[in-house]
């Protein structure tokens, strides 16, 4: 590989101040916008989670009324999924994909600008519903009818903002695919692409196939409520269970949209700090693709208890359990990559290692939930809450944090404080387990999810979980402090910030120049 940056262009003809960010078409600017936006949403959604945990600290009603509690669970989920995680991954894609494949920018820079700037409007609209007289959406993020059809005036606003978010994701996905398929440096064949690029390519295809189905489902809700159709209203011959089928046909691929880029990040960081090549690159690619394909035929495992026939329950049970095979391949490959590597444990590596262990715990509880007869006990209990928080918090969010620590020196040219990073890691990891591990126990003991009050025997574990949640929230303030400290430093980071780091982005100077590869690099 050769470096080819003899002419770092100075900033040219750019509007300054706020207009720079509003009109920018630069992939790095847009990546930063996505990441900052995601951080803001992470704190808003986290604040809502703390309201939930404060209320659940004790049985009985202390702080909020049940209606508002339901709005908090609904909004927490919508904001964390669509506001924190998805934009974080799109932000990372924006920053990294062009640099990783040796392209000057994304394929569709103006579209890129637009798909970001849709988000603030969509979320303003979504969050504004909380100030309505009838309150925000309270039927859960899954918007199941008939309950969601009976809600207050927030419903059309929520649906329109989801449409906007869907449009933004689809545009972003089209951009990612167009970039990866058409703008790779000469010589970079598909099977030579960095694994993060592969996982994002597959994620983008999932987005394109799944998001329009969500758009369809919520449009049907909207016409049922306002235009007299009866897709889901039983009075007109509709069927509420139909919504669950359509929703989860989107919803399950969505789950993998939230985790596949995380797999890509971990598969990038583990080899870097083990100073070995990724073990089983080809099998990683095939495993990712098979997870994506399987995600379209397992949707009804979210609805084992709606009254499906035995054949359906068995089909969805076995296809779901099948997903454990490619996922197992991935976990095996990560461990095999570390085997006899000369490992060091900097903050990104620590988060990636915790990802492997804790995500696997979440995967195992997922397998338990996949077993139909057992699911009848677990369904809609805190066990489910424990499961998906294990795969999303120490899973997806840990991967995002690891990625930020890993690429921060490349983005800013500045190295974060390693000691503080490690403190952040240990606090986060300890508190995340204090928060979510007890939820397994209360769930198995029968505590239902989405309730503001509970039976007294669940008190102890709920208190522990609430303490953990506040600790976790405070630890993330440390993260912001670390970012702030890093940005205040002078530029000192080396071009190749990590000894074992591989990839085209490390051939660029740190901080990465505004325009990366004007001339495509050569790939051996």
């Amino acid at each position: 590989m050769s470096t080819n940056i003899d002419h770092i262009k100075e900033e040219h003809h750019q509007p300054s101040g706020i207009m720079r960010w509003i009109t920018t078409t630069n992939h790095k600017d847009i990546g930063s916008l996505y990441l900052w936006f995601s951080l803001l949403m992470f704190f808003i959604g986290g604040f809502m989670a703390l309201i939930i945990r404060a209320e659940l600290f004790q049985p009985g009603l202390q702080f909020v009324v049940p209606g508002f509690f339901n709005q908090m669970t609904t909004m927490h989920a919508l904001i964390m999924i669509f506001g924190a995680l998805m934009p974080a991954f799109v932000g990372l894609a924006n920053w990294q994909l062009p640099m990783m494949i040796g392209a000057p920018d994304m394929a569709l820079p103006r579209l890129n600008n637009w798909s970001f700037w849709i988000l603030p409007f969509a979320f303003t609209m979504l969050i504004s519903t909380l100030f309505f007289e009838s309150g925000g959406p309270a039927a859960g993020w899954t918007l199941y009818p008939p309950l969601s059809l009976q809600g207050g005036n927030s419903m059309p606003f929520v649906i329109f903002s989801l449409h906007l978010l869907g449009a933004s994701s689809i545009l972003g996905a089209i951009n990612v695919i167009a970039t990866i398929l058409n703008m790779r440096a000469p010589g970079m064949t598909l099977m030579k692409m960095p694994i993060f690029v592969w996982t994002w390519l597959i994620t983008a295809f999932l987005l394109i196939a799944a998001m329009p189905v969500l758009a369809g489902a919520i449009t049907m809700l909207l016409t049922d409520r306002f235009y007299g159709t009866s897709f889901f209203t039983a009075a007109g011959g509709g069927d509420p269970v139909l919504f669950q089928h359509i929703f989860w046909f989107f919803g399950h691929p969505e789950v993998y949209i939230l985790i596949l880029p995380a797999f890509g990040i971990v598969s990038t960081i583990i080899p870097a700090f083990s100073r070995k090549k990724l073990f089983g690159y080809d099998s990683m690619v095939y495993a990712t693709a098979s997870i994506a394909l399987l995600s379209f035929i397992v949707w009804a495992h979210h609805m084992f208890t709606v009254g499906m026939p035995l054949a359906g329950e068995i089909f969805f049970m076995f296809t779901t359990m099948l997903i454990a095979v490619p996922t197992g391949v991935k976990v095996f490959n990560w461990i095999a990559t570390m085997w006899r590597g000369s490992m060091t444990f900097e903050t990104p590596m620590l988060f990636s290692l915790a990802f492997i262990v804790l995500f696997t715990i979440g995967g195992f509880s997922g397998l338990m939930l996949a077993i139909t007869p057992a699911d009848f006990q677990y369904h809609d209990t805190y066990f489910v809450v424990a499961h998906f928080h294990y795969v999303l918090v120490p899973g997806a969010i840990f991967a995002v944090i690891a990625a930020v620590y890993y690429w921060l020196p490349k983005w800013t040219g500045k190295m974060y404080n390693e000691t503080l990073g490690k403190i952040h890691f240990w606090m986060t990891t300890i508190f995340v387990n204090i928060t979510f591990f007890p939820m397994h126990f209360v769930g198995l003991a029968g505590m239902p999810r989405r309730i503001p009050d509970y039976a007294v025997q669940f008190t102890d574990f709920n208190m522990i979980a609430s303490v953990g949640a506040f600790g976790f929230g405070l630890s993330q303030l440390l993260f912001v402090y670390i970012l702030f400290l890093t940005l205040k430093q002078p530029v000192t980071a080396a071009d190749k910030s990590w000894e074992g780091a591989e990839g085209l982005e490390w051939t660029l100077p740190s901080p990465a120049p505004y325009h990366s590869f004007d001339k495509p690099p050569k790939i051996d």
Binding site: I174, I177, I208, A209, G216, A217, G236, D239, G307, P309
Partner: protein, 178 residues
């Protein structure tokens, strides 16, 4: 650049196709449920085949009722249980009373449990085939004529027929306005 354009065109087509597919799922789901009898979907047009078989097989049919969204209606079966011979038509009725002070339009949605055997429960005549108009304070008898099919598997002892009554007055007045 032409490569990028063709990628975008193809991907946009996929997006449109998947949106259409979400709507296609509605009839697919309906057909699937009808063929398999899932969700306790029964026939919603009258059954006309009247081939009475003289087999001595009896099943218990239980009747239950629900009123959706606490509409101001009294709605109960006149008898809650009948022992019927398979292959023979039977009559029963539900009683509905309008407890509100205005005229209401209603419609009922039927369901048979166990859903798997819904296909063997045939309705020859049913108030659920039509909508009802009921005046304030009026009491109505709503008739059902049904037949349990000869082919009912032997392991079935009880069948439950349930109706949920919906007040659709507002929907109707809205569609009249349009």
């Amino acid at each position: 650049m032409s490569g990028i354009k063709s990628t975008i065109t193809k991907l946009s087509l996929v997006v449109v196709a998947m949106y259409a597919f979400s709507y296609a799922l509605v009839p697919i789901y309906d057909t699937f449920c009808e063929i398999t009898g899932l969700n306790g979907k029964t026939n919603d047009v009258a059954y006309t085949d009247n081939d009475i078989n003289k087999e001595d097989r009896f099943v218990k049919v239980k009747f239950i009722s629900n009123v959706a969204n606490s509409a101001p209606l009294y709605f109960e079966p006149s008898v809650t249980e009948m022992t019927v011979q398979v292959g023979k038509p039977y009559n029963t009725h539900y009683v509905m009373k309008n407890n509100s002070s205005r005229q209401l339009h209603t419609t009922a949605s039927p369901s048979v449990t166990p859903g798997k055997y819904a296909e063997y429960f045939k309705k020859i005549e049913c108030f659920c085939f039509n909508q009802q108009t009921i005046n304030s304070g009026e009491v109505k008898d709503l008739g059902v004529q049904f037949i349990v099919d000869n082919d009912l598997p032997d392991n079935i002892g009880d069948i439950v027929l349930s109706y949920t009554m919906f007040d659709i007055t507002n929907n109707i007045s809205e569609s009249n306005k349009l």
